[in-house]
């Protein structure tokens, strides 16, 4: 997929993954890269930015198998932002899908 495209999408992916539960960085990265090819290094700068903008808070939690993990939690502001982004995404994809279907029918 077009590179320009992905960055905005990455934002949305991270927000959506944190909607239902808190997750730690590695987990987030793996979840996303299971579905789409991303540069895993670009997720951390993104997490930092969204945290600084007040969309996430972080906390440390011990894990059974390794070192303590930094968990990311969506704030109320973050949830609001997520829903706005999600609406925009749906509008956008609906529009593109309609165009694609029309295009396919004309062929």
């Amino acid at each position: 997929m077009n590179v320009q495209f992905k960055k905005g999408v990455l934002n949305l992916c991270v927000l959506v993954l944190l909607d239902k539960q808190d997750r730690y960085g590695y987990e987030l990265v793996q979840k996303i890269s299971d579905q789409i090819s991303i540069s895993e290094g670009s997720v951390y700068p993104l997490l930092r930015r969204l945290t600084k903008e007040g969309y996430f808070t972080t906390y440390l939690q011990e894990s059974t198998e390794g070192p303590p993990r930094k968990y990311y939690k969506l704030t109320d502001t973050g949830r609001e932002y997520l829903h706005k982004q999600l609406d925009e995404w749906r509008n956008f994809t609906d529009g593109v899908n309609t165009l694609i279907e029309e295009g396919v029918q004309n062929d």
């Binding site: 960055k7 991303i38 540069s39 670009s42 993990r69």
Partner: protein, 188 residues
């Protein structure tokens, strides 16, 4: 690339970011490696999936610079933010540099005009000193009027500068959210 090497390279590239932030970034990275190893990955696999330290550092620098520019939008902070974003790639050069030069042009033009207007009486005085023969009262009055207009323009420019600079920072932020950076080398 081994983990140590990756960390060393990244640390060297992050010198412009404050110490405490560097430490936090390195801590996050350490945790990432630990979790990757628990997942059964080798250090080489993990560093390969992370993209180069250079691209990671560029992204981090852009966020830092933007934060600075947002906190205090001065010519210096904005210029550094623009520079960092341009470093992300050619595409950014086009969408950032154009509007930036436009902004600089408008501000420079406005300020030059206001300074010129305000200085008008001085210029008339200089004229009198250099060519005493062609003195006209009209010149004096007109120049004082221009000086007044110039003061108003300067007041307007003061507000315009603030608004435009803050607006431009918002534009930069908006761009870095949408536009590429660090994702260049992952196309499958």
């Amino acid at each position: 690339m081994k983990k140590d090497e990756f960390q060393r390279d990244l640390r060297a590239l992050l010198v412009r970011i404050p110490k405490e932030e560097q430490i936090e970034i390195m801590k996050d990275l350490e945790e990432y490696f630990e979790n990757g190893k628990l997942d059964g990955k080798t250090e080489e696999q993990i560093t390969a999936s992370l993209d180069s330290p250079k691209n990671m550092a560029k992204e981090l620098l852009v966020s830092y610079r933007l934060e600075k520019a947002e906190a205090t939008a001065t010519t210096g902070t904005i210029f550094r933010a623009v520079w960092a974003i341009i470093g992300l790639g050619f595409f950014n050069l086009i969408i950032v540099l154009g509007p930036f030069l436009c902004l600089v042009g408008v501000l420079l033009g406005g300020w030059t005009a206001s300074v010129g207007f305000i200085a008008a009486p001085l210029l008339v005085l200089a004229n009198i000193v250099i060519f005493p023969g062609i003195f006209e009262w009209f010149d004096i009055f007109a120049s004082i009027a221009f000086c007044g207009i110039g003061l108003f323009v300067a007041i307007g420019m003061f507000t315009a500068t603030k608004v435009l600079m803050n607006g431009f920072v918002r534009y930069l932020k908006f761009n870095t959210k949408l536009v590429k950076g660090g994702l260049t080398h992952v196309e499958r």
